[in-house]
């Protein structure tokens, strides 16, 4: 409506014989372009939440550097969900030197104190859990081990 009224004004002025130079913007076209630009930038931005990933080993045994070396005994980490919160899980760890480990913080501390004893490249960790264990609890445990620099962490078939 506004654009049309601008045009009418301009025409009237021309009929009256005055020099009519219409500087009025064409509002409808401008709105068109603005909407198109808006859609363009919305598309570019996207709505997906940023995500990251952890890499895990899938294949079988990695070769041992010296064939006469015995591979180190795997350390078993059993994850048990105790609630729905991200920290609501318990751990049972077998094969790790030192005191018994029962939660995430204790595992982190035990791994920190075992730095000199365990080999980061050869030591195998086996993460075990029941079929119904929450995935975030398994991932958190996996992340604690990987963060300490241990490269060989496997997920055991749930039983």
């Amino acid at each position: 409506m506004t654009a049309r009224s601008f045009e009418i004004t301009a025409t009237r002025r021309r009929r009256n014989g005055r020099a009519a130079t219409s500087l009025a913007p064409r509002l409808a076209s401008m709105i068109d372009v603005v909407f198109l630009l808006l859609m363009y930038f919305l598309l570019i931005a996207g709505f997906t939440k940023p995500e990251s990933s952890l890499d895990a080993e899938l294949a079988g045994e990695a070769p041992v550097a010296d064939p006469f070396d015995l591979p180190p005994q795997p350390i078993d980490v059993v994850v048990r969900t105790t609630g729905t919160g991200p920290d609501a899980f318990a751990l049972v760890v077998a094969g790790l030197p030192g005191d018994a480990v029962s939660d995430a913080e204790m595992l982190d501390a035990a791994l920190a104190s075992s730095d000199a004893v365990l080999s980061r490249t050869d030591q195998v960790f086996v993460v075990r859990a029941e079929p119904t264990t929450r995935w975030e609890h398994v991932l958190e445990t996996f992340n604690i081990i990987r963060r300490r620099g241990y490269e060989r962490v496997r997920f055991e078939e749930p039983k």
Binding site: V33, Y40, P50, L54, D55, P86, P131, R134, L139, R147
Partner: protein, 130 residues
């Protein structure tokens, strides 16, 4: 002139939308947030993306496969085809919600291993938990 710009922009948007929809392999999932910062890895690169759906089933690309009681063999065949199209050594990306059961995620990882992927990436929320 304005109409021409309109049409050009519309065409750009049309092609962008088509491209984006055909590339949409990620299902919206409530991914796990881990406590401490983890080495960030870019997951936007081309990967074989396996989505473990909360309502049941596993989605790869635009197709959904059954995962109960066991993983559908067609998923493994489809994963093998996908792997063959990707550069050698490309990992599979397994995406699952934080509350998903370990059994279902492990089955998806197992399917990736059976299809010949040597490593798997596990999707997490990029924001660390407090």
């Amino acid at each position: 002139m304005t109409s021409m710009i309109d049409v050009v922009f519309l065409l750009i948007i049309f092609f962008m939308l088509v491209a984006q929809l055909s590339r949409q392999q990620r299902v919206e999932l409530d991914l796990a947030q881990l406590r401490d910062d983890t080495p960030a890895r870019d997951t936007r690169a081309e990967l074989a993306i396996v989505n473990v759906l909360p309502e049941g089933g596993v989605r790869l690309g635009a197709r959904t496969f059954d995962d109960a009681p066991t993983i559908d063999a067609a998923l493994i065949r489809h994963l093998v085809e996908t792997r063959d199209q990707l550069p050698q050594g490309t990992p599979a990306l397994v995406r699952a919600a934080r509350g998903e059961s370990y059994a279902r995620v492990h089955a998806a990882m197992r399917a990736a291993a059976d299809a010949g992927f040597s490593s798997v990436h596990l999707a997490i929320d990029a924001e660390p938990r407090e």
